[in-house]
């Protein structure tokens, strides 16, 4: 927090760097060919939020610990706060805004909403994308497999339990199975 420019000479150099032409990339974003220009030092997270106005992806910790910035790059979940925007050139990036199919929510989005797995909702975009990645790889994950897959995402509201239940419910739906939340998940034990 207190590192940085010490004198005006350093500052002049830094200002010159900042005044350089923005870098321009082309990549596939949420299924669409996209071009964007931005200061080259920016992370993918900053580019998404600030230069592309996609504020669904969140920041939480500035150092890759909390998972709120998770997006899918070429199908793989990565922390966008630890990836340079420049590295998205030519890649396939998916954010929370691209998870729904037009007006139809992804089953995970439906179940997260229906089960109360989203309380404050700040961590939800990150969880949803990582869960989507899990279900692509494993259509019938066990509870421990879900816990491990989601262990890089922090939530301070839910205690995670409704999140697991929402993932299990969505997985069942995606397998074409009828499933409801067990009664004790909604009403507690008798």
């Amino acid at each position: 927090m207190f590192l940085g420019i010490r004198d005006s000479a350093e500052l002049a150099l830094y200002s010159t760097l900042q005044m350089k032409t923005k870098s321009h990339i082309r990549f596939r974003l949420n299924g669409e060919q996209t071009e964007v220009a931005f200061s080259p030092h920016k992370t993918l997270l900053e580019v998404l939020r600030e230069d592309l106005n996609l504020t669904g992806t969140k920041h939480g910790c500035e150092l890759g610990e909390c998972g709120t910035c998770a997006v899918l790059v070429d199908g793989r979940s990565i922390l966008s706060c630890l990836m340079l925007g420049l590295d998205a050139e030519g890649r396939d990036v998916k954010t929370i805004e691209g998870m729904a199919h037009g007006a139809e929510l992804h089953p995970l989005q439906q179940t997260f909403a229906d089960t109360g797995a989203a309380q404050c909702g700040y961590c939800s975009p990150g969880f949803l994308l990582v869960a989507e990645e899990l279900l692509k790889k494993n259509a019938n994950p066990t509870r421990p497999e879900i816990q491990e897959a989601l262990s890089g995402n922090l939530c301070r509201c839910t205690g995670y339990i409704k999140i697991y239940e929402a993932v299990e419910l969505a997985a069942a739906k995606m397998r074409g199975e009828e499933m409801e939340l067990p009664r004790e998940a909604v009403y507690g034990l008798d």
């Binding site: 900042q18 969140k58 920041h59 929370i96 922090l154 995670y160 409704k162």
Partner: protein, 817 residues
């Protein structure tokens, strides 16, 4: 009364697991949190914070910083000379420090620039000359060291507040006791760690009016503070609380950064945004006070308490915040679970040069609850009583008033204890206090604890005679309903509660309703999301507003249908004759009829908590319209070779009164258990033990909170015993279930490996130290020794209700005041 619902009317919305009204928006990334707001030509603010824990500000030179291209304005303390603070008795904060800094992280200047990078660079070119002062880094130091004073107000020296209250004569209680036990405990401070960092955007429009969007739990209190500090009429200031990405009490103070962006917007004429880094959130803090506690309790052989003397010592950090209330809270709720006929409370809050402490989930009650529940277990061991029995046999009765004048209504703790004892198979796992006949293998342990929490503070932060909560309804002639209320949704679902309750009373669907909240220009005042007040208070206000609307609709439709008003029912978007349901109109038609008859349809409802029977000084903290109760059994696995504690399972029973939405209630229980787990196992706001008082863990990398891999299994029981003061009987659930978890785990650790960790968090290092001590034949305990010697004032003495007291303090016979 016309069209009134009664207890036997079946419920269509309340009690059902509807999704929240904002759930889908959160799952598609549409919800606009404060940092998601972007306005044209917006500037970015960075706050320069002190790197010294205690120092005088001798000089500030902004010249180099102002010369940076892209910097539009820089403000310092002299630009905002008015002080503020959440409590009227401790208005000790300035948006930017004027003459001294009091902790590392204390803001001294604010820069508005074209982007954050420029603001950051400019911030580092601000030159400040400090004159360091000696630091106060602990409660002990604050008690011993009077100079330098961190603040020039307070009890004396660096003691912020001292409280001394006695209900009945506690010595009489000790005289009656078969056993008197003393224990000392320490509960380390921890912080809220909401996933969303604080952020705010200020806009100064061409009419010279300010709008502030902020991630705050208390827009009304922020509104009041801004009017004071900006020296502007409140009618020209609009505060909008954006959906909070978690609050837990960390976003309940008016903040330096909120004031700063408003001022910068006024100076520059451009919108200004500030977003705190995670490190800055640690410095902002307002989290759980570290509390040192001493219990001295007299009991009969059967475990009945005859008297209790409790002392608490709070490390308040550098500012008042809610601290005076926190101090009283540490002493307030000991009497609401087990009967305590005589009670003495002494509490002290110290100023130290650390980030200020304030309210965190449970606000001053988790610490003493932890102490009480472990203390009670130790008493049970001495008396050779089962920990479940000692609690179950001495519960406070419903509809009684405690020794300290807290009025208990519904009290479902007995049922809670029964459920978790049965569910956990306590009888077959707890094998008594004799270590030789274990039912669980060594290393596995089981422990129980109980707790209670308020459903809203009985009094507002600033004393007034107005309602604590207001709801306004507008009915549209095409069937839509708009509910407006000042409440703030911090993820708990308070917006949805309004929709569910109004939908229930008006017989429509929750998704027909538009909920508008937390906007000081548009919504009636609700004091904010703190003290678990929102469901109870806004719920009751919403019922009143909706019933008034229902009455208008019923009268208009009854007239149209030619049936008595008593026959009118509202359900499934229709208003009809209950004896002949085919005879009726749609909800929209009912509104048309009512609007034709009465004019534009709008109703209000409000809620004020009942007056407390306590009339003594300090009686304002503790009273509540209702109390929730929780019981938890923890099953743990302690590795005696590493000291690592794994909590396998928590059985938790919560006396909710009535679930407005059981699925959301489950979410609050599970989330509260999670947060209690984090506190007992790993969370700590610790500082280096040298004079520099530097925070050890101001990042998410180092400050540990549980991931999916650490979260235990949770078995939940919801006990529904409706409270007459709650909306549809509902009590709180956002904070209560956290409280029994830390002590249940501590008691389970003792059961597992025979050592007492009388300190929170229970870390492997502490367990190993205690195990080594035990192996050497010494006391297998890790925890604080004695409490500091303090010159306590003569207690304010109050006769208990049982003694025929009237709630007022006895006249002092003292010679001087």
């Amino acid at each position: 009364m016309s069209g009134k619902r009664n207890k036997s009317t079946p419920l269509n919305v309340v009690g059902k697991p509807f999704r929240k009204v904002d759930a889908r928006a959160k799952c598609v990334g549409q919800t606009k949190f404060a940092d998601d707001i972007v306005l044209p030509r917006m500037l970015y603010c960075k706050m320069l914070r002190s790197h010294l824990p205690h120092a005088l500000i001798k000089n500030i030179d902004l010249s180099k910083a102002l010369a940076v291209p892209g910097v539009f304005a820089i403000i310092t303390g002299k630009d905002l000379p008015k002080s503020y603070g959440i409590l009227p008795v401790s208005q000790d904060e300035h948006a930017l420090c004027i003459d001294k800094v009091r902790f590392i992280g204390d803001p001294v200047a604010a820069v508005a620039a074209i982007d954050e990078d420029v603001a950051f660079d400019a911030m580092n070119l601000i030159e400040i000359e400090y004159e360091p002062l000696n630091t106060i880094s602990s409660i002990d130091e604050a008690i011993l060291i009077d100079e330098p004073r961190i603040h020039d107000y307070g009890d004396s020296g660096n003691i912020h507040k001292k409280v001394s209250l006695e209900f009945g004569t506690v010595e009489d209680g000790f005289a009656e006791a078969d056993l008197i036990r003393e224990d000392v405990f320490f509960y380390e401070g921890n912080t809220h760690l909401p996933m969303e960092q604080h952020a705010a955007v200020a806009h100064y429009d061409s009419d010279n009016k300010i709008t502030l969007w902020s991630s705050t739990q208390t827009p009304h209190y922020v509104h009041r503070a801004l009017a004071k500090v900006l020296e502007m009429p409140a009618s020209h200031i609009r505060v909008i609380a954006t959906p909070n990405g978690g609050g837990f009490g960390g976003k309940s103070d008016p903040f330096n950064h909120e004031v700063a962006v408003c001022k910068l917007a006024m100076i520059t004429g451009r919108p200004v945004k500030v977003t705190l880094t995670r490190e800055e959130v640690f410095y902002c803090h307002r989290g759980r006070h570290p509390v040192l506690m001493k219990f001295k309790t007299g009991v009969k052989k059967d475990g009945a308490i005859t008297g209790m003397h409790f002392q608490s010592f709070l490390d308040g950090g550098a500012y008042g915040s809610y601290g005076v209330a926190s101090t009283f809270y540490t002493g307030a709720l000991q009497t609401v679970t087990y009967d305590v006929p005589r009670y003495k409370f002494e509490g002290l809050r110290a100023f130290t040069n650390k980030p200020p402490c304030g309210p965190k989930r449970g606000h001053g009650t988790p610490q003493p609850r932890y102490g009480l529940e472990v203390h009670l277990d130790k008493i049970a061991e001495q008396l050779n009583l089962d920990p479940v029995e000692i609690r179950r046999n001495h519960l406070v009765a419903p509809n009684t008033v405690t020794a300290n004048y807290l009025r208990i209504g519904s009290m479902g703790l007995g049922k809670c204890i029964d459920k978790v004892a049965e569910g956990s198979d306590w009888k077959n796992k707890f094998s008594g206090w004799n270590g030789n006949s274990r039912k669980l293998p060594l290393g596995k342990g089981i422990g129980i604890a109980c707790s209670s929490y308020i459903c809203g503070a009985g009094l507002p932060i600033y004393w007034n005679n107005m309602p604590q909560s207001g709801v306004q309804l507008r009915l549209d002639r095409q069937g839509g309903v708009c509910v407006m209320c000042g409440s703030t949704d911090i993820g708990q679902g308070s917006d949805s509660i309004l929709a569910y309750i109004v939908a229930e009373v008006l017989g429509i669907d929750p998704f027909d309703i538009r909920v508008v909240t937390a906007d000081t220009d548009l919504t009636p005042v609700d004091l904010g999301s703190y003290s678990s007040r929102v469901t109870l208070m806004t719920g009751n206000a919403a019922i009143q507003a909706a019933e008034r609307a229902r009455e208008l609709l019923s009268m208009a439709v009854a007239e149209k249908l030619g049936v008595p008003i008593e026959n009118i029912g509202l359900a499934e978007r229709r208003v009809f004759d209950v004896e002949n349901p085919e005879l009726g109109v749609s909800f929209a038609e009912a509104v048309v009829l009512a609007e034709s008859k009465y004019g534009t349809i709008g109703t209000v409802g409000s809620y004020t908590p009942p007056r407390s029977p306590g009339k003594y000084k300090g009686a304002g903290v503790g009273p509540s319209p209702a109390y929730s109760y929780s019981a938890a059994v923890a099953e743990v696995d302690v590795d005696p070779d590493t000291g690592i504690v794994v909590v396998e399972r928590i059985w938790i029973a919560h006396d909710i009164g009535k679930s407005i939405n059981p699925m959301l209630v489950m979410g609050q229980v599970e989330g509260s258990v999670y947060m209690g787990l984090g506190e007992i196992l790993m969370e700590e706001m610790a500082y280096r033990t040298n004079r520099n008082v530097v925070h050890k863990f101001p990042s998410m990398l180092e400050y540990k909170s549980p991931t999916t891999m650490e979260m235990c299994d949770v078995k939940t029981y919801l006990i529904e015993d409706p409270d007459p003061n709650g909306p549809f009987g509902a009590k709180e659930v956002g904070q209560g279930p956290l409280l029994p978890v830390p002590p249940a785990v501590a008691n389970a650790v003792y059961n597992a490996v025979g050592v007492r960790i009388d300190e929170v968090p229970i870390t492997p290092e502490k367990v190993m130290k205690a195990l080594r001590e035990k192996a050497r034949g010494r006391d297998g305990r890790f925890g604080p020794g004695a409490v500091p010697a303090v010159d306590w004032p003569e207690p304010l003495r109050v006769l208990t209700p049982a003694e025929g007291g009237d709630g007022k303090e006895l006249p002092k016979v003292a010679v001087h005041s």
